[in-house]
């Protein structure tokens, strides 16, 4: 009970150039095949043992949801086989089959029946569902007056009312408030300890690492990597960074340097890199880790003054820190054409967990208003993670030395 075997599974969708082509193919099959096959998943092999927790990660469009649908059985594989033993509960989309005009209680019956429960089962599970959802008297109100969080609470409570042998979760837990997220996670952990097999799709590194024994990275419809969650997540982050860079480059060519990049081009930014003490490129930095920002500039036209500045922004675009070589009293003067300058800023990443970006600029004086050579937003994106430091919140790290007098 509770095993998942995915053996050599391929899933491809048929694409017809137009509707008439399908009709022709159906009516006159001897005239040849008119569709093209668009593969979504290729040669997927995944075995999950009873009681194991496996995380599936991958960028949007990697085929994660398709894989989950194959495992839950709503779609059939083009080739290969999928076999799942035991009772499966899938949290693919919470609140499926809710009717807005019926009360919460009636909808509990409706969606539990859709999952195959009998009325007697539901009567028995009802008090448990009621207490877990904690929506109080709203249970007797029509679902259309619910907030989306309340709907989600009720739907989650129904879907997990009975411990399944296999629980499949597709990022469903990202909704709901922190309190309920915590509560639903506890329930999932409890199921796990009782032997439920878990399959989770998430972009949240913390979730995967906290819950899973193993992670599978899907990329472009194939299993790119499988192994311990931490190793797979690191690989995934590298993949993301690579993607981030190419995207930025694409943006530059498409925008013609309007948004991401501006300036006269007198001096250009040739390279921006974030490296650790060993000089290796990093996209993931630990709180308090010493790093260096490397900026290579190339002088195209001889220039009198050059200032390099950078800013660190959080994911909302708020500047966390910024400075330039003018303020650091290291303005460069009288540069010849063709000169290559390497700026190397060493600092400690005293930042809170999260995603940050560098904006880098080359200009003539203290601000870029007086002669902007080149300005690059989001020149580099990096992640800050907390490893080994005591837990804290916020975007800066200012660890106190604590004294307590009694």
């Amino acid at each position: 009970m509770g095993t998942i075997h995915v053996h050599n599974v391929c899933k491809a969708y048929r694409q017809y150039p137009n509707r008439w082509a399908r009709l022709l193919e159906w009516i006159l099959p001897f005239l040849g095949v008119r569709h093209t096959v668009k593969p979504v998943l290729r040669n997927i092999n995944i075995d999950v043992k009873q009681g194991e927790a496996v995380g599936i990660i991958g960028i949007n469009g990697a085929g994660k949801s398709t894989l989950l649908k194959l495992i839950t059985g709503t779609i059939t594989p083009s080739s290969g086989s999928v076999s799942v033993t035991g009772r499966v509960a899938a949290l693919l989309e919470l609140g499926m089959g809710f009717h807005p005009d019926f009360t919460g209680r009636q909808n509990v019956y409706m969606s539990a029946q859709l999952l195959g429960y009998s009325v007697a089962d539901i009567d028995r599970l009802m008090p448990e569902i009621e207490t877990f959802a904690e929506i109080g008297s709203y249970l007797e109100q029509p679902v259309r007056v619910y907030s989306s969080g309340m709907q989600m609470r009720l739907a989650f409570s129904v879907a997990t009312a009975h411990r399944p042998d296999v629980l499949i979760i597709d990022e469903a837990l990202s909704v709901g408030d922190a309190y309920f997220q915590h509560k639903s996670f506890n329930r999932i952990r409890e199921f796990r300890s009782l032997g439920t097999t878990l399959l989770i799709v998430s972009h949240d590194k913390a979730v995967i690492q906290a819950v899973c024994d193993r992670a599978v990275l899907l990329n472009a419809g194939e299993v790119a990597m499988e192994g311990p969650p931490e190793a797979v997540m690191d690989y995934y982050n590298a993949l993301l960074a690579e993607r981030g860079e190419t995207r930025i480059e694409q943006e530059q060519t498409a925008d013609g340097g309007v948004a991401t990049q501006s300036g006269t081009g007198t001096v250009s930014i040739e390279a921006v890199k974030l490296v650790d003490l060993q000089g290796a490129s990093v996209v993931e930095v630990q709180v308090g880790q010493p790093v260096s920002l490397l900026v290579r500039a190339q002088v195209h036209t001889a220039t009198e003054q050059l200032v390099m500045g950078y800013m660190i922004k959080d994911r909302l675009g708020q500047t966390i820190y910024g400075t330039n070589t003018h303020h650091l009293n290291q303005t460069l003067y009288d540069l010849d054409q063709g000169a290559v300058i390497d700026f190397n800023a060493h600092f400690l990443v005293n930042l809170g967990e999260g995603s940050y970006s560098f904006s880098v600029a080359l200009h003539a004086s203290d601000t870029h208003i007086g002669g902007n050579y080149e300005w690059k937003d989001r020149a580099l994106v990096f992640q800050v993670i907390n490893v080994g430091k005591e837990h804290f919140v916020g975007s800066t790290w200012m660890a106190p030395t604590l004294e307590i007098k009694q």
């Binding site: 509707r19 649908k69 059939t76 499926m96 029946q113």
Partner: protein, 263 residues
């Protein structure tokens, strides 16, 4: 066999859905389920008053005030069962696309829900009509029970046809559009409003080919003339109905995977 067992384990869902569908219609109304009775009463009243009292329409050969309204009702009520079933079956997969894609449950629940809820509506309407027959002294007699086997044939015919087209409609949405138009012609090509005897001989032969002509005529004969149906004209329709159902099952087996991909 396995399919039937799966359906059986979902019987609570099927029964629950039929009831909820019925409730949903009158959910936010003050009179509630009373509307489901008022509607057919109004319909029967309109036909009776207009045709038998105002227009004084008479069926050829029958000398009764209510004969034409009974004729009309027996055709229209059974026709509307047919058209409700086919219309809903044609869109059944499209209407439940989200459910089919996200949740793994026996797909055959859906047509059973449609069938159940159409039957529920029909039972109410036809029950009221029967009551009207009894009260107005026009109840036909024992031949009334022959209605049930004919209804069975008609439902099988409607389900087989509707579901086959429903599967095809997922791939070619034109079918749903076309069938809506086709159904209007079909209504007038079936002797529901007019008796077939008023048609010229050649046209009558064409109309006789229409499987619904046999069914509807049988109902009218029972309800208006208290005549037992001529089974020899009905069994070919029954055969067609069975074949349609089998074809529909085969089509579903072969295309169900592709069908979900297309939704």
């Amino acid at each position: 066999m396995q399919m039937l067992r799966a359906l059986y384990s979902y019987r609570a869902f099927i029964a629950g859905s039929i009831v909820r569908e019925f409730q949903a219609k009158y959910r936010n109304s003050l009179l509630g389920a009373l509307w489901s009775i008022l509607n057919p009463i109004a319909m029967i009243a309109v036909y009776t008053v207009i045709f038998s009292q105002i227009m004084r329409a008479k069926l050829p050969g029958v000398d009764s005030t209510f004969a034409y309204s009974i004729y009309l009702c027996s055709g229209i009520l059974t026709w509307s069962l047919f058209s409700e079933l086919t219309n809903r079956c044609i869109n059944i997969f499209l209407d439940h696309a989200n459910l089919i894609k996200k949740i793994n449950f026996p797909r055959l629940c859906l047509p059973l829900i449609v069938l159940g809820s159409a039957l529920l509506n029909f039972t109410i309407i036809f029950g009221i009509f029967t009551l009207f027959l009894v009260l107005s002294g026009n109840f036909p007699g024992w031949s009334f029970i022959a209605i049930f086997p004919i209804l069975l044939i008609q439902m099988m015919f409607a389900m087989g046809l509707g579901l086959s087209l429903g599967i095809l409609n997922v791939f070619f949405r034109d079918i749903g559009q076309f069938f809506g138009i086709f159904l209007q012609f079909w209504f007038w090509l079936t002797p529901i409003v007019y008796p077939i005897t008023i048609l010229p001989e050649q046209i009558r032969q064409v109309i006789e080919l229409n499987p619904l002509t046999k069914l509807i005529t049988a109902y009218q004969n029972i309800l208006v003339h208290n005549l037992w149906p001529d089974w020899s004209t009905l069994w070919p329709v029954g055969l067609v109905a069975v074949l349609l159902c089998l074809w529909c099952l085969r089509l579903f087996r072969r295309r169900s995977g592709e069908l979900v991909d297309e939704l």
